[in-house]
């Protein structure tokens, strides 16, 4: 009896291990498939439609039906909007991370934290809708402009990356050993001096990861950006002029581009570019974390 039971337990153990390992392998298979399919479909523009990668990356004329596939306006749009978001949302997010890790009394932290979680949960389309109906008219009024454009997209993205940057910087700061805080205080540093000269440098690699993941969130953001950018497929001349980004242009054009056409291939190429940027950021994170150890 006991022997049979032990055998069954042993067999269950082996089956369980097999199932668990297979589930884990699905992650590997999934990312390989995604990379593979996008590589094949994203390079069709070059090998099947004979558009040169140079013309795609640096060309400024975009006309899907007219065979013009210069994606530079969208690349610039994505980079400027993301850059703006990081310049505003990055420091602000780290500052609030410092607030939660060093300053906030417990009741305040308990009251504020759920707010940050709700901010994560608000769908990007809702951020876009608030941006379109609240922020764009405000910008139009203040700057006497149309309102939609890279400034509006940058502001919306700044807010959207905040929760990511806040919670990751807080985590990075919290693991800094207390001895550093005590040592700094014993040397007569004020609280701000301790934060800015001891804690931030000590947590620098973790803070870098927080910023990089903020970049990843911003560059891939689609609908919040699409609703407030104005969607003009031209090189943006200012932060207030209507513009477009890689993500928003894909959404704008995908429904019109026939299957198998160069137009659709060009949109896949833009998706491939986004994927490669995302993978590049992952490698950067690995490098930032390796420096720590």
């Amino acid at each position: 009896m006991v022997g049979v039971r032990a055998n069954k337990a042993h067999r269950d153990e082996r089956i369980a291990l097999g199932v668990l390992a297979t589930s884990s392998a699905i992650f590997v298979i999934a990312i390989v498939l995604i990379l593979g399919f996008l590589l094949v479909n994203g390079t069709a523009l070059f090998y099947a439609d004979h558009v040169s990668p140079f013309a795609f990356l640096f060309g400024t004329n975009w006309d899907g039906f007219g065979g013009q596939f210069g994606a530079a306006p969208f690349i610039v749009g994505s980079l400027v909007a993301t850059g703006f978001a990081i310049l505003v949302g990055g420091p602000l997010g780290v500052a609030i991370g410092l607030f939660f890790s060093e300053l906030a009394p417990k009741p305040v932290a308990n009251a504020f934290k759920p707010a940050i979680e709700v901010l994560v949960g608000i769908p990007s389309i809702v951020y876009g809708w608030i941006g379109l109906t609240l922020l764009v008219p405000l910008i139009a009024k203040v700057f006497h402009a149309e309102g939609d454009g890279l400034l509006a997209a940058g502001i919306v993205l700044s807010i959207m990356i905040l929760p990511t940057v806040i919670s990751l910087s807080e985590d990075a700061l919290k693991v800094v050993p207390n001895a550093l805080r005590e040592g700094s205080a014993a040397l007569g540093a004020t609280r701000w001096e301790t934060m800015s000269r001891v804690l931030v440098p000590a947590a620098s690699s973790g803070l870098a990861v927080a910023i990089i993941l903020g970049i990843a969130r911003a560059i891939g953001e689609t609908l919040a950006v699409q609703l407030v950018l104005g969607n003009a497929a031209v090189m943006p001349r200012s932060l207030l002029a209507p513009a477009s980004a890689l993500t928003s242009e894909i959404v704008m054009d995908m429904g019109d581009a026939p299957e198998g056409s160069a137009f659709r291939h060009a949109l896949f190429t833009m998706a491939l570019l986004l994927l490669l940027i995302a993978m590049g950021l992952i490698v950067l994170i690995r490098l930032a974390l390796r420096r720590r150890t």
């Binding site: 291990l17 199932v19 992650f27 707010a115 709700v118 608030i130 540093a189 993500t247 993978m279």
Partner: protein, 307 residues
């Protein structure tokens, strides 16, 4: 950590002018950090208030359950709300077994090594794939390759890929919170590893696990970019617009908010968008509250802790 006492510089240790200016800088920085945090919370409250003010007049029983109209005013979003939940449930059916198993494997079984690093790296990479890119992958595979056209199933499978890493992370974190004495006690009583996982570790991690799962569900509910070109931006008009066929097109509420902006011919597109935005926000709030309450309840019931 905030409890560490930060000594002020001793008076007379420095020239008093310098000490004073350092104190002022410290004071300014403290005020700045407090204002930054308060501003963000105030911003959230502003968003909530704004969406309620704009949207509440659109909300009615008819709006929440009625069918959308194609050209005249007064359409509802019933099928879209149904589709949002339907795709969420389909996604959870695929995501949970895979992600929880992988989380258990990485946290409890796999020792440090190549395979574990590979899975971890794949999960991190998967987590940074932008949702529009995942949407195009879904389009390539489910729409173009399998010829399914736009389907609830294709949308759900795309969302599964998008949310596997977050679910796995949630599982890993919940398991990491279980004290190692539980494992030792169970194994010491002669249980196998699998018996330990199934009867000791998972039940005691069920609270935080549920909280995490519900929070991720909230994000699945509001996802848009990955669904537009996989599940489609129109509702199915079969026998009923409340359609359980996973091979029919299924526009969700979030996608509806997008498509009313993009292409709607109805004169009340703005009101419909305002109402949809409010429903989405309320759902986010509900998911957050449910996550907390259910997580706590389950922890109490299954572990007897923190009653």
């Amino acid at each position: 950590m905030a409890s560490v006492v930060m000594a002020r510089p001793a008076p007379g240790a420095l020239s008093s002018d310098r000490a004073r200016s350092r104190r002022i800088v410290d004071r300014i920085a403290t005020i700045a950090l407090w204002s930054a945090a308060t501003t963000v919370v105030a911003l959230l409250l502003l968003f909530i208030a704004y969406l309620f003010v704009q949207g509440y007049s659109s909300i009615s029983w008819h709006f929440l359950t009625g069918y959308p109209k194609s050209a005249e005013a007064g359409g509802g979003v019933g099928p879209q709300i149904f589709n949002s939940f339907y795709i969420l449930i389909l996604t959870l059916i695929f995501t949970l077994p895979i992600a929880v198993s992988a989380g258990v494997f990485l946290q409890e079984y796999a020792g440090p090594g190549r395979f574990r690093d590979l899975v971890q790296f794949s999960a991190e990479s998967l987590a940074t794939v932008p949702s529009i890119v995942m949407g195009l992958f879904g389009l390539i595979v489910f729409v173009q390759l399998f010829h399914w056209h736009f389907t609830a199933l294709g949308g759900a499978l795309t969302l599964t890929l998008l949310n596997l890493p977050a679910m796995m992370r949630v599982t890993q974190e919940s398991l990491a919170g279980v004290p190692s004495t539980y494992r030792e006690a169970s194994m010491g009583l002669g249980a196998t590893k699998w018996q330990t996982v199934l009867r000791a570790i998972l039940p005691s991690a069920i609270g935080p696990l549920t909280t995490g799962v519900v929070l991720v569900s909230g994000r699945i509910f509001g996802e848009t970019a990955a669904l537009i070109f996989t599940a489609g931006s129109s509702v199915s008009y079969g026998a009923s617009a409340y359609d359980f066929n996973p091979f029919h097109t299924a526009e969700t509420l979030a996608v509806h908010l997008y498509s009313t902006q993009r292409e709607a011919l109805v004169p009340d597109a703005t009101q419909i968008a305002n109402g949809s935005a409010l429903v989405l926000l309320v759902m986010v709030l509900v998911f957050n509250v449910v996550a907390r309450v259910v997580g706590r309840q389950l922890t109490v019931r299954l572990t007897g802790k923190a009653s």
